[in-house]
């Protein structure tokens, strides 16, 4: 019994990481209806950027802000230079362009870093844990990731609901032409939205790289987890996404406990079950 409680707790904490994965995807989709197929690969790219900084002698704490800054700028340039061109031309261009980018990123990483698995060193942080009784131990790192995800969730909510920047983003998303008449440059707003998403993805990538080792082909799995969290929770609902990520984490960790070969499968099946039984997601936005 205690073992199962432990499994669920680990699942919830894993869900915190998946919520971070999902926030960027959901943000970009929410603002410009763009589905970035390379989402998972960019998360992975952030982990490799952190690896390069570590190689240059920085520790994780010093490298993280730099990775976030690099990814923020990269996201801005990507949206402004490439992705903005794909918007408003139908379904195919954004999907196929980001899919092409995904393959390019994977193979560039493979070329530079080889197929060997890598990990970010975080010294004591990766092993230290909080003991609750004899059988349950909560790692400080997964707990920290969960709390950071929660805090960022509140932060994003506040940003969108309360600030002028958030209003401008929502206005651009609702009616681009009218927003333009009000003096908002939609290309700049879209680029900022993507930059913000990339900053979140940068954190997600660094955290994921500290939790487990990674290889250049792990990107698509990140995308699938982010996507499943969004669909389980319900499109467009922020706390729904967080709940969806948590449920996905719990399903996977129960699956892994039942049989090491079933973890991911149980997660995917939970996603399909929600899609069949409640296609609008568990916590759809009601307005």
């Amino acid at each position: 019994m205690v073992g199962w409680i432990d499994t669920v707790i680990q699942g919830v904490l894993l869900g915190g990481l998946y919520a971070l994965f999902a926030m960027g995807l959901s943000l970009v989709y929410g603002v410009m209806r763009l589905v970035n197929i390379a989402h998972g690969d960019f998360i992975l790219l952030a982990a490799y950027v952190a690896l390069v900084f570590q190689g240059a002698g920085l520790d994780v704490a010093a490298a993280t802000p730099l990775v976030v800054a690099v990814m923020f700028l990269g996201g801005y340039v990507l949206q402004r230079g490439i992705l903005n061109r794909t918007l408003g031309k139908g379904l195919l261009p954004p999907l196929l362009v980001t899919f092409g980018l995904s393959v390019v990123i994977q193979n560039v990483l493979l070329q530079i870093f080889s197929a060997d698995s890598q990990a970010l060193r975080a010294e004591a942080l990766t092993t230290a844990s909080l003991r609750l009784g004899d059988a349950i131990a909560i790692g400080w790192l997964p707990l920290g990731v969960f709390l950071v995800a929660l805090a960022l969730g509140f932060g994003l909510q506040w940003l969108f609901a309360r600030t002028g920047f958030g209003r401008a983003l929502r206005a651009t998303s609702d009616d681009q032409e009218t927003a333009q008449l009000m003096g908002i440059d939609h290309r700049h707003m879209y680029a900022l939205a993507t930059a913000l998403a990339f900053a979140l993805m940068a954190l997600a990538g660094v955290f994921a790289g500290m939790r487990t080792s990674f290889t250049p082909t792990d990107g698509p799995a990140n995308l699938l987890f982010a996507f499943e969290a969004v669909v389980i929770g319900g499109l467009g609902s922020f706390w729904g996404t967080f709940a969806g990520a948590t449920l996905l984490g719990i399903a996977q960790s129960i699956g892994f406990r039942l049989n090491p070969g079933w973890g991911l499968l149980v997660g995917h099946l939970a996603f399909l079950a929600v899609l069949v039984l409640r296609p609008e997601g568990l916590f759809p936005r009601t307005r």
């Binding site: 989709y29 209806r33 763009l34 589905v35 197929i37 490439i82 061109r85 794909t86 031309k89 379904l91 195919l92 261009p93 954004p94 999907l95 196929l96 362009v97 899919f99 092409g100 980018l101 995904s102 393959v103 390019v104 193979n107 560039v108 493979l110 070329q111 698509p220 995308l223 699938l224 996507f227 499943e228 969004v230 669909v231 499109l235 049989n259 070969g261 079933w262 991911l264 499968l265 995917h268 099946l269 996603f271 399909l272 899609l275 069949v276 296609p279």
Partner: protein, 332 residues
Amino acid sequence: MSAGAKLVTRATRASRAAAVAGAIALVAGAALPWWAGSASMRLLIEFYCFVIMAQMWNLLAGYGGLVSIGQQGFLGLGGYALFALANHAGLNPFLCVPLAGLLAALVAWPSAKIVFRLRGGYFAIGTWALAEVFRLILANVSALGGGSGQSLRAMASIAKSTREPAAYLIAFAALVCALAAVYLLLRSRFGLALTAIRDSERASESQGIDTEFTKFWVYVVSAAGFGVVGAIYYMNILRISPNAAFDVSWTAYVIFIVVIGGIGTIEGPIVGTLLFFVLRETLSSYGSWYLIALGAIAVVTMLWFPAGLWGALSARFDLHLFPVRRWLRQVP
């Protein structure tokens, strides 16, 4: 008929020439086992597989507006159907090829009901997740070799001199069937509906086209095509494993082929496959640089030349080898 009357034509001079060339290619292709070596037969089987897949994906995305990144799911299922039926049920491996297509179509039926609940970009990722489900399920079936897969033992009893030409002819027959099916489909009422959906889903709905029904059938037909290809390809390779059979690279190659060749035409996927094989045979020694280049070319094509290679050629020279359109021509 008075002067100035209009006439609806469907053929062009180029298309009549293409029909003659096609008939010659049909005879040459069918007679190939009698004059070509086994290495070229193997390469051609692979080539035919990619042409079929490109046509099937083009039908989905180029016409139906269904961008799937999960077609490897049906390819893998088709391949595994061959191994299950031939190795374990004792069926003739060649007979398993159409059965593999049938099985893929049967699985696509309920799959469509699930993934069609997602729209646009999320549909794309949903199909991918579904393919992962198929992969993980088969990786857990120990009777079929689990994660490491198995070999096609059923083929051992068939002599090489029978096996190779038979596999080739089945692949060739599948190619001819796929091309004929796509061509006839697009010329029919169904194809007209599909082309209308390609141009504007909302407008075609307002004209009374049942878009859900049309998309559903396109999805099922495309899955059957990928299932047949899976059986043919792995009959050629003789060994299957879940990670290889359900690899997203299958769909990635097919997407690049269709985008570079020209999406939304029948000629585009064929031109794209030719280019893909030429590039592969010349650049494959560069390893991942080859894939980086392929991805980059696809991105550039999508951004600046969305009609692809064939689209550019056909606009420049008014060339249509597979006439699926209707032209209004002045009667002299």
